[in-house]
């Protein structure tokens, strides 16, 4: 049973966050989750893999459930629900024109659906996340904004606005924190997001430069006759 378990895990190619190898994953599953639950999770995962869905989040969810002492049947239910969201997310992303989305993008899509965004909103976010944007990151940020209480349509608008203003993925990653800061000052999440959307047109916050700051070098004048 153990050998079969590892073989399937290897086939599914799991390396969870933190670079765990297949054997570590198996050890975690053993410690946390009963053999019956493991069997059920492996079935769901094999089915997901057959449909081109990422398997890591399913295994991760099972490990989480085990760690939290959740009863076996609820772990299975949660993993199954997650697989369903991943499938839906993959469809939404494909409809947006991405034929073979990476596991990361599908996961991001599932997060977004979980947070209350619609399939078409997921598709829209993927469409606007051309390089240097990262669609997986974009989706997760939108999901987090929605989790903060920003209405889905507004979260979408804010993220789109930042992208078209040329902001970096890192700037996007900072949006939830900024919304929260706005809420701390007394705004509703929607108001905080609206304020950020207005400011998105303004100058980016910038990054601390690595180079010698202005004034420390002779001005470069290529036009000396």
């Amino acid at each position: 049973m153990r050998t079969i378990g590892i073989a399937i895990t290897l086939v599914l190619g799991t390396t969870l966050a933190g670079g765990l190898g297949a054997q570590d994953v198996q050890a975690l599953l053993d410690r946390r989750v009963s053999p019956e639950v493991q069997r059920a999770v492996r079935d769901i995962a094999a089915d997901a893999a057959a449909h081109g869905l990422p398997v890591d989040p399913l295994v991760q969810k099972a490990i989480e459930g085990g760690a939290k002492g959740v009863p076996g049947d609820r772990v299975i239910a949660a993993v199954r629900a997650l697989a369903g969201r991943l499938a839906e997310a993959k469809e939404a992303v494909s409809e947006a024109g991405v034929a073979a989305p990476s596991g990361d993008v599908v996961e991001g899509g599932a997060d977004a659906l979980n947070a209350g965004l619609s399939r078409s909103q997921v598709g829209e976010l993927v469409r606007v996340s051309q390089p240097p944007q990262d669609p997986g990151l974009t989706l997760r940020v939108a999901a987090t904004l929605a989790a903060l209480g920003v209405p889905a349509a507004q979260a979408l608008q804010l993220v789109q606005g930042m992208i078209s203003a040329g902001r970096s993925p890192s700037d996007l990653l900072g949006l939830p924190g900024q919304v929260q800061a706005g809420v701390a000052r007394g705004a509703t999440p929607a108001q905080a997001a609206a304020g950020l959307a207005r400011a998105a047109g303004g100058p980016p916050p910038g990054r601390a430069p690595d180079w010698v700051p202005p004034g420390q070098r002779k001005p470069h004048n290529p036009h000396k006759p």
Binding site: P132, G166, R167, S168, D171, G202, P203, P204, P205, G206, R207, A208, P209, D210, W211, P213, P214, G215, Q216, R217, K218, P219, H220, N221
Partner: protein
């Protein structure tokens, strides 16, 4: 980056964070003038720039624990000043302050050979800069006054080189239009 016998920025920052507030004067002295020119060009006035630099230095003290890399204090201070300059410009826009009332920024140097035209042109460019958008003015100032390359400007502003060049090229056209009498 410290001179022989002088504390580095990182050492001073750590000392200030540990409670030695008076050491902050070292950083004030070191960096008070470094971005004065940038601030003056962005804000169109040396006096307003001085206020901005002063506020930025105080704010940098208030937020010193946020300075992720204390040996890059200067760059971090620049960002604080930059945000302050943008905030000042937004405020002015909201208040509808006419740009033509920008204060005299510098005393025209005496030109014994009478190159009055050159001085006039310099004044005209300073005024014209105030008619650009803040982003256009900034890329122009960072490249041509401060001597940064597009890649460096991209690193500071977070914009791509391509979008910076677009802004700059629009700035060139606008400046040509605003300065047409002085360029012939």
């Amino acid at each position: 980056m410290g001179l022989e016998g002088e504390a580095t920025d990182a050492e001073v920052v750590r000392a200030v964070l540990a409670g030695d507030v008076e050491r902050y004067a070292v950083l004030v002295r070191r960096y008070r003038e470094r971005y004065a020119r940038y601030a003056s060009r962005m804000l169109g006035s040396r006096d307003v720039a001085e206020d901005a630099v002063q506020d930025a230095l105080v704010r940098a003290f208030d937020r010193l624990a946020d300075c992720r890399e204390p040996d890059k204090f200067a760059g971090w201070l620049f960002l604080i000043l930059r945000n302050r300059c943008y905030a000042e410009q937004r405020r002015r826009q909201r208040e509808g302050r006419p740009l033509d009332e920008a204060d005299e920024m510098f005393a025209a140097p005496d030109r014994p050979d009478g190159a009055y035209e050159q001085v006039e042109r310099t004044h005209a460019l300073e005024r014209a800069l105030q008619h650009l958008t803040a982003e256009q003015r900034e890329v122009f100032v960072l490249k041509h006054t401060e001597g940064l390359a597009y890649e460096e400007i991209a690193g500071v502003t977070g914009a791509t080189v391509a979008s910076l060049k677009m802004r700059m090229h629009r700035a060139y056209d606008r400046l040509r239009e605003l300065m047409k009498e002085h360029l012939e």
